[in-house]
Structures are given as C-alpha cells and as structure tokens.
Amino acid sequence: MRCLACHDTFFEQPVWRKLLMLESPTKLCRLCELKLVPISGKRCVACSRSLDSLTQAFKNGDQCLDCLRWAERKDIGHLLERNVSLYEYNAFLKELFATFKFRGDVVIASFFAEKMARLYQKDFRGYLPVALPLSQERLVARGFNQSSLLMQGWAEDQDILIRTTGEKQSKKNRKQRMRQLHQNPFSLREEAKIEQKNIVLVDDIYTTGTSVRLAAIVLKENGANKIASLTVAR
C-alpha cells in the first residue's frame, strides 16, 4: 500500500475483515495516522472542540467561549443544533488540507470520507447531508468542491445550496467573517424541498462556525427543522 499523505509504501497486516472486503484498505501509514489527533476527552457540547486543551478563561461548564458568545446572539445564536468534528486542526492536518484543497490532491478526501461516514451513522442518522457549496468561480478555479468529496461513498450531494460571493473564508479574520452575517452569500435553489427536514451540513473545517451558520439561516428560513454540522477538523 502507498500512504496517501507521505507517499511511502507500507505493509498492511492481513486481516480477515479486509480480505473479505468488509473493511476498505488502510489509507495512511502508521506514522502519518499517528500525527492526526482525534478529538477525545471532554469536548464542547456545542462545537466539539476539545475542552481539555483550553485554559479556564476560554471555557465555562461544558461549552467553549466561542459557543457561549454565539449563544448570546438572539438572532442566530440557536440556529445550529451542534457541530461534530473528527480531528483537532493541528499542523499536520493543516498541511494535509493544503495539499488536498489548494494543490488539488483529491484522493486524500477518500480517507476522511470513510471516517465521516462512520460519524454520520453514529450521530446524524436520518439527517439530510448537504455539502457546503463553493461559488461558481471558485469551483471552476479549483476543479472540485472539497466538501462534497468528503461525502464520497456514503451520500449523494443534494446540491440545494448556492454560494454567490467567491471570497475565501480562510483569508478573513474573525471580525470580517462575522460582518458577513448581514450579506449572506448563501441561497437556496428554488426546487429544493426541505420543510420539516433535519439537515447536516458537511464541510472540511469548523473555525469560527460562521459559514455553517450563514447556511443555516437560509435553511431555517425555508422551513428546515434541525440543522447540525459535520466537519473533519475543529
């Protein structure tokens, strides 16, 4: 096997489950998989952030400061049921995402897609999975939407959301991201039917949580019931 991250070849232990194709082959070598840190221990009930690594000033009870700040906002504070993430956003994952998103090495998505599928089954069964879209310009420039690739193999992207502005979230700071709340880049396709449905938004990273909430506003306005988000990194 060849590791998706470091391209080194490695030997896979023959296991019956894998030989019988009940499990897909291992995609990362042991050393690279060790560099990924699954979020564990006590975590924020609202956004999945690890509370153990935060100092007292940045948490209160079972929530982190960011989520408490969101909760203070009467208008959109309670739009998002919760966010669930797989890994901590460390230097290794950052580099891996850069290779995946910016350099365009899309096969990396297949590793995360499997893990996302498991988490979806565990936490969001019955929810409608919706990938966060890119604007048309960005989609063409990049050639793919990373969020819908994360749904590869376990869900079909419903493609019910449209994004109009093409600016990158990663180039903005917290304040700039918050300001967007007044000019929502997302809108819903006319033919989409989401009344009374529970929806889980799929994205690569949850940083401030602005993107998913912006999408949630649109979904809520159009009659969705519960809205949650499922992301690779927090």
């Binding site: 090495d105 050639g143 690739l149």
Partner: protein, 453 residues
C-alpha cells in the same frame, strides 16, 4: 506594437520551458494570437501509453500515483498526477505549453572563467575529457573518489561551452548541493548569468546561461540545454533516479552532451552504452582514502533494548572525545537515532543529532562545523556533500540494509578530506559483516590501488 512586445515577453518566459497555463503570466488574447502564428506547441499534460497513464512533465507512470475526480472544469472524470503536484496540478484536461517560434540565440562569452586555483594531475586529465565532451555530443562519467574535487573539474569545460554560446544545466537530486554549488560558480564565472533553482527559490533569471537545479525544478525545462551535468547521480534510490533521468532527458536538446559526476556510480549507469569513463582515483591533496575498520559489537539492538550502548562504541567515543577531535556517528534509522541520543545523554556525553525531518538541521550542522559540539549523531542524511575538518567517523549497525556499498563508501569519504588532516579513523560497528561492507572496503582499496598507493 504593445502586443508584439508582449509576444516578446512570452517568448522569453517560455524559452526552453514547458509550462501550464497557470504558470504563464499573460492575457488570454496574446496567447491566442501567438497560438495562431504557430509559435506555441500545446500537448496534453497526461498521455496514455497502452492503457497506462503517464505524466508528460515528470514521467510518472506508477498507477498508484495518479488520482481522479469529477472535474468542475471539464465536467468529466479527470485524472491528475500526484507525483509532481508541488509544481502545480496537471490534469487530463490541461495542456502544457512550449515555445516553437523563432529560436533565441545566446551570446558567446570568451574567457569567462575567473578561477585561479590549480588542478591536481588527476583533475587535469578529467578536466580535458570534460572539455572534449562539451564539444561533441557525448556521454561521459567522471568517476572521482570522495574529496577529488569534482566541481573544479567542470570549470574549463564550462568556459568552453560558454564561449560557444551554449546553455548549461547542472542537475542534482539534492537541494543542499544546489545551495552549496551556487556561490562557487558565481564567483568563478562572474560574467555569466546563473540561476539556482530549488523548492522555494524564485526564478529571477529566466534566461540564465547556467542553471543549477534540483530534480523537481528541472521538470519545467524542455529542450533547453546543450550540456547537462548530473551531480551525485546515485544519491537517491532508483525510483528517484528514474524521475531525474526523465526530467533531464526532457530538459536537454537532442544534440546535447551529458556528464555524470559520481564517486559511487551504480551498475545501471556503468552499463550505459557508449558511456565514456574517466577516473580520478586520488584525492585532491594526494593522500590515499582511509580504509574502514570492521569492529564486531554484538547484538547492539538487543543491548539497546536493555538501555545499553555496545561497549566498543562507548570506548571509541570516549577515547576520541579526549583528543578533542570532532566525531560523526551514523545510525541506520531515525528511531535508532532518538534511542542512541537518550542513551548518550544518560552517560552524560554531550552531543547533537540530525535527521532529514529535523527543522533545526542546518543550525546543528553549523554548530558542529564551528566545533561547538564535538559529537554528532546522524542518519544517512550527512553521508555526502559535507566536509568537516579532521572528523573521525563511526557507523553503528553497519550491516543494516540502508548502508549500501555506495552509502558506506560515501560515509568513509567524510574522513581526511582536508590536506592538513588527511587521515583519520573510520569504523564500522556491526553484528555480522554484510556483503555491502565488504564491497565498500574493496571499492576503496581498488581506488587506492589505481591511485598508485
């Protein structure tokens, strides 16, 4: 008028290159105009050979190093090469552009060499062979022992090439070598425009007459060079070698000469048809190569599991530390490196350690060079291209597979490189002598024999 100057810019930008659209900083209209004139050649980035994909830029044809996805640009399932992704993604739906308009001629520069050093007799012979090779289409291997002074051997050949207006590439798999060579060539050829290319460097001299480049950077060139010098050809395993070979083949003109520089040429290289070989069996300073000693040290891995270092090694280290000589200790892997390092610390033996992924690698090497640290533990990363004055060298676990014949010859070649300290100790600590160890010793003895010792 404005357009014609932009066409000129494009010609200059694409001169001897093969690039993706995203690497060409020009407006689409100009590009279209040039295409209409027939000055641009376009080829698909990936080609299909049989039923196997092949990347036209890096030559990758390993099935496991291609990916595919539904492409939002061309609306079909598009493949891409994962091997050269760092240079910009090449997908099935993308084209590579190269210039096929009027060819640019380069000025000839006479007497460009401003180096005044002297060559040893062995170097002189090789230098003459190199000069001849630059004049006719030829493949030449300069097989020079470690410390023979390979770089200086190139100088007169390059001067001849520049006098004929030829463009020269010096390719090497290692970034460190590019960085080390650049200042030496820059001071020896002050009139020549030189560009040094490695990951992260900026190409400020797109039309340089002499290009120093790593394997990856060589991949952007296409039919550009009249003379190609490949340094340290054997420095990486075969797969890497293969992509360097492909890159060089694409980068040179059909009529170009190739010169290989190596201390430990592989059997594949030596089997190249019509390859001329010139040997420099003596070091620059005229002293013989130090012959490695073999020292059995028992099952050192088992000893280390019991948190002990083999005693012959400890004795060796302590003896030389007293003489205040710098010591290099090679170990077979990064995990062994960390383990040895903790055990040395337990014995309160002051030392530093380096490996390829070490962010502080360059500082540690500098500290060792400045003699602030007297014991350095390293993986094979320091096996070549570095000179430390009066260094004594030991290898722990010399029987391990990573220590190939070439690696061991190179490691032994670190000892006695300076004229004022031309001898030194090189010990292979082992748990059973390997074929490679024997071959390495035989190799060194053979070179000494040929050198007349």
């Amino acid at each position: 008028m404005k357009h014609s100057s932009q066409v000129q810019d494009l010609a200059q930008h694409l001169d001897g290159k093969r690039l993706l659209l995203s690497e060409i900083p020009l407006r689409k209209e100009v590009l279209k105009q040039v295409l209409k004139k027939g000055f641009l050649k376009t080829e698909s980035g990936l080609e299909t050979v049989g039923n196997q994909l092949k990347c036209r830029r890096c030559g990758n044809d390993d099935r496991t190093l291609f990916g595919k996805h539904v492409c939002a640009r061309c609306q079909t399932t598009c493949s891409y090469c994962r091997h050269c992704l760092l240079l910009g993604k090449i997908s099935s739906c993308q084209q590579l552009y190269s210039w096929c308009g009027p060819e640019r001629t380069r000025p000839s520069v006479d007497r460009s060499l401003k180096w005044e050093g002297a060559l040893s007799p062995g170097q002189k012979k090789a230098s003459e062979a190199v000069r001849k090779a630059t004049l006719k289409q030829q493949e030449l291997l300069v097989w020079a022992v470690c410390g023979a002074g390979k770089t200086e051997v190139m100088f007169h050949g390059l001067e001849t090439a520049f006098a004929k207006g030829k463009r020269v590439l010096i390719a090497t798999p290692r970034t460190d070598v590019v960085k080390e060579l650049y200042p030496r060539f820059a001071s020896s050829f002050p009139q020549i425009v030189i560009s040094a290319l490695y990951g992260g460097s900026k190409d400020r001299q797109p039309n340089a007459q002499l290009v120093l480049a790593t394997t990856h950077q060589t991949m952007r060139f296409y039919k550009a060079f009249d003379l190609v010098v490949i340094d340290e050809v054997d420095a990486f395993p075969f797969s890497y070698d293969k992509s360097l070979q492909y890159a060089v083949q694409q980068a040179m003109k059909q009529t170009a000469s190739t010169i290989y520089l190596s201390a430990t040429p592989s059997t594949t290289l030596l089997a190249t048809p019509n390859l001329e070989v010139i040997k420099i069996p003596r070091r620059f300073h005229g002293f013989p190569l130090p012959i490695p000693r073999f020292q059995w040290c028992g099952n050192w891995q088992k000893a280390m599991r019991k948190h002990k270092l083999p005693s012959p090694l400890i004795t060796w280290i302590k003896a030389y530390l007293q003489t205040k000589k710098p010591l290099l200790l090679f170990v077979p892997s990064i995990s062994t490196l960390h383990h040895v390092s903790t055990l040395l610390a337990k014995l309160s033996l002051e030392h530093a350690s380096v490996h390829a992924d070490d962010p502080n690698r360059h500082q540690a090497v500098q500290a060792f060079r400045d003699k602030n640290i007297s014991l350095m533990v390293t993986t094979t990363i320091l096996e070549r291209g570095v000179t430390f004055s009066d260094v004594q060298v030991a290898v722990l676990g010399a029987e391990k597979d990573v220590f190939t014949e070439a690696a061991l010859v190179q490691i032994a070649g670190r000892v006695g490189r300076k004229a004022e300290a031309a001898t030194g100790d090189i010990v292979f600590f082992h748990f059973g002598i390997s074929k490679a160890m024997r071959a390495a010793r035989a190799h060194i003895e053979m070179m000494n024999n040929e050198g007349g010792f």
